[in-house]
């Protein structure tokens, strides 16, 4: 059986710096507030909303709206498929790095021959 290339484990909805950041942060907490995500990722509110919509439509996050006193608050919670997608993406990236390192050590010819 041929070994799958690590890029086959990459989901294009997740393979984006900011969406990967959203999943990484929300995986660290029970839920993350919109303002924290915006500041941590250095995004505008509109841009963050677009990324959240992509992830929400993919079923990777849940968006909860509520109030803290009179102030509206939006909380983001990662779902089980979201955690799985994050783990798969990080594993694929790590594996790609490992392959690059192996090829770098053995040289391109040997690396190609051993694949």
């Amino acid at each position: 059986m041929t070994e799958q290339h690590p890029t086959s484990g990459i989901d294009e909805r997740v393979h984006q710096r900011h969406r990967l950041g959203i999943l990484t942060i929300t995986a660290e907490a029970q839920r993350a507030e919109f303002g924290y995500l915006r500041d941590a990722l250095g995004l505008t509110a509109g841009n963050l909303s677009k990324h959240l919509t992509v992830l929400e439509e993919a079923g990777m996050i849940q968006v909860e709206k509520g109030y803290a006193g009179r102030r509206p608050r939006t909380w983001v919670r990662i779902t089980r498929p979201g955690r799985a997608a994050l783990a798969a993406e990080l594993a694929a990236l790590t594996e790609l790095l490992r392959r690059h390192a192996t090829i770098g050590h053995t040289g391109p010819e040997e690396g190609r021959g051993s694949a």
């Binding site: 890029t7 393979h15 950041g21 907490a29 029970q30 941590a40």
Partner: protein, 262 residues
């Protein structure tokens, strides 16, 4: 991170190695920052340290006063797992009730603290495991002694093995419940420092439950006279309290510095 919403390197063509390493590095930084930002465990450490310290009057061994027999005075405690096997004085008689209120009150205050911290920081710590651990152990400590006294069915009597006498006899089993809660909190906080604190505190709680800590002080030169015998149970209480208070003060200083630096 940049403010662009552009896509990352195309997976078809394969991203640059440096890009992958940078991306993984950025995710590590984001994860570490989020973890540090939501750490707020200094409060439960200080709170339970204070609650243990405040319980000290209940442990004064008045029943060791001259002319009174150990453990013979007064009726038995109402909550034997939380309150211990002896009930030497009127105050000591209510130790179980004190711990019932303190454990549940401490649990509630800790939950409120984490909710407040979530609103302030923007990240909520999953405290469900901590709540379940403390609530279930407290409920079992209440229910199991009652069930094990039931005459039928017979197997209920064997529930007593869940509570080894050595662990509950001094009335310090609530310390062990707090230790279990700290382990659950360390998991929720993903904090190695809290794991270390939980390990040290657990050792202190088990020592206080299984051994008379005053013996250690005796070797260090503390030799209480008959008038001070009522104080000899206090080292068992004050040792775990001091561990939690010192750890809580240290965690407060560290977490404040980290917030200021962020």
């Amino acid at each position: 991170m940049s403010n662009e919403g552009n896509e990352a390197t195309d997976p078809e063509t394969g991203p640059e190695t440096g890009g992958q390493a940078d991306l993984l590095g950025e995710m590590r930084v984001l994860r570490q920052r989020a973890r540090t930002a939501r750490h707020a465990y200094w409060f439960p450490l200080v709170l339970f340290g204070l609650l243990i310290g405040a319980s000290a009057p209940f442990y004064l061994q008045l029943y060791l006063s001259p002319g009174r027999a150990t453990g013979a005075a007064g009726p038995g405690p109402q909550l034997p797992v939380l309150g211990g096997a002896f009930s030497g004085s009127a105050v000591q008689h209510y130790l179980g009730y004190y711990w019932l209120v303190a454990l549940l009150g401490g649990l509630l205050l800790t939950l409120l603290w984490y909710r407040r911290n979530a609103r302030r920081v923007g990240l909520q710590t999953p405290a469900r495991g901590y709540v379940i651990t403390v609530a279930v152990l407290t409920a079992l400590a209440l229910v199991v002694p009652l069930l094990s006294q039931a005459r039928s069915p017979n197997w209920l009597h064997h529930l007593q093995v869940l509570w080894p006498g050595d662990l509950v006899v001094r009335g310090t089993f609530p310390f062990v419940i707090i230790a279990a809660g700290l382990w659950a909190l360390a998991w929720a906080e993903r904090s190695r420092a809290l794991v270390a604190i939980a390990a040290v505190y657990s050792a202190a709680a088990l020592l206080a439950s299984l051994y008379n800590v005053e013996n250690l002080l005796f070797r260090l030169g503390w030799n209480p006279g008959p008038g001070d015998w009522d104080l000899t149970s206090l080292p068992n209480v004050l040792l775990p309290a001091l561990v939690l208070l010192a750890a809580g003060a240290g965690a407060f200083a560290v977490q404040r510095r980290q917030r200021a630096a962020a």
